[in-house]
């Protein structure tokens, strides 16, 4: 399976990445593309920007581990994950997950699985910049619950 994982400061082109994943192939029948975009408000307050900090080395390794896990769960034909770091303004891209398979079910499920795990397990932290200063975004129970529903019965996850 073709897997592309990139962490970068620069923006990405979601349509170009999806095209690159399927170019020249006729076995792929379904591509799900998810893009996470910076909102202009956080908890009802307007924001100037987000700054994403990450743990170089571990971030790539964690994403690769979950891509492998997704591959073991669904018959995937290609996966692309791109996560930006640094300062990101409202309206700009933050994260891209593309999952390709022969049929839609696997592509939808794998894209959602990867996003749920990216939010709770990949070492990234968002800081909000607004006119009142800067503040770190707190992890939410909703995100933990979203990731937990993929856990296999009897399976184990280190350091929940």
């Amino acid at each position: 399976m073709q897997a592309t994982i990139r962490l970068q400061r620069e923006d990405f082109d979601a349509a170009a990445e999806a095209a690159a994943l399927t170019r020249g192939r006729t076995d792929i029948g379904a591509v799900v593309t998810f893009a996470g975009i910076c909102r202009g408000a956080e908890s009802g307050e307007p924001i100037a920007a987000l700054t994403l900090e990450h743990y170089p080395g571990m971030a790539e390794a964690e994403i690769a581990r979950h891509v492998k896990d997704a591959q073991a769960r669904w018959p995937l034909l290609g996966v692309t994950v791109i996560h930006r770091y640094g300062r990101i303004a409202p309206g700009e891209n933050i994260v891209l997950v593309i999952a390709a398979s022969s049929h839609r079910q696997a592509a939808f499920a794998a894209a959602e699985f990867l996003m749920d795990y990216l939010k709770t397990r990949a070492p990234f932290w968002k800081q909000v910049e607004s006119k009142t200063g800067t503040a770190w975004i707190e992890a939410t129970d909703d995100d933990d619950a979203a990731a937990a529903r993929w856990r296999k019965p009897g399976g184990s996850e280190a350091a929940d």
Binding site: G36, L52, E53, H54, Y55, G57, M58, A59, A61, E62, H83, I94, V95, M115, L118, K119, T120, R121, A122, P123, F124, W125, K126, Q127, W136, I137, E138, A139, D143, A158, A159
Partner: protein, 83 residues
């Protein structure tokens, strides 16, 4: 061993990384947090709520009861908020 800090843990400790030599009696991640807390107000502040601290040894998530023997790099950070 090398310690690395991220996000508000880094801000509170006041540095991104440092080399430390904890005594042999410090065997687990939780014990290391306890030992660090005694090193100064900035550490006490960073680690005041141990339940809000996540740890990784050599770039892999670990639980607080994990042994630190043989670790090259231990990271401390808040719950993750990427994606």
């Amino acid at each position: 061993m090398k310690l690395v800090y991220f996000a508000w843990v880094r801000e509170r400790v006041g540095k991104a990384e440092e080399d430390i030599e904890p005594p042999a009696s410090v065997r687990t991640v939780a014990e290391l947090i306890g030992w660090l807390t005694g090193r100064g107000d900035e550490y006490a502040h960073a680690f005041e709520h141990p339940k809000s601290i996540r740890a990784a040894i050599d770039k892999t998530h670990v639980k607080s009861d994990t042994a630190i023997a043989g670790a090259r790099e231990i990271a401390f950070f808040p719950p993750m908020t990427g994606g």
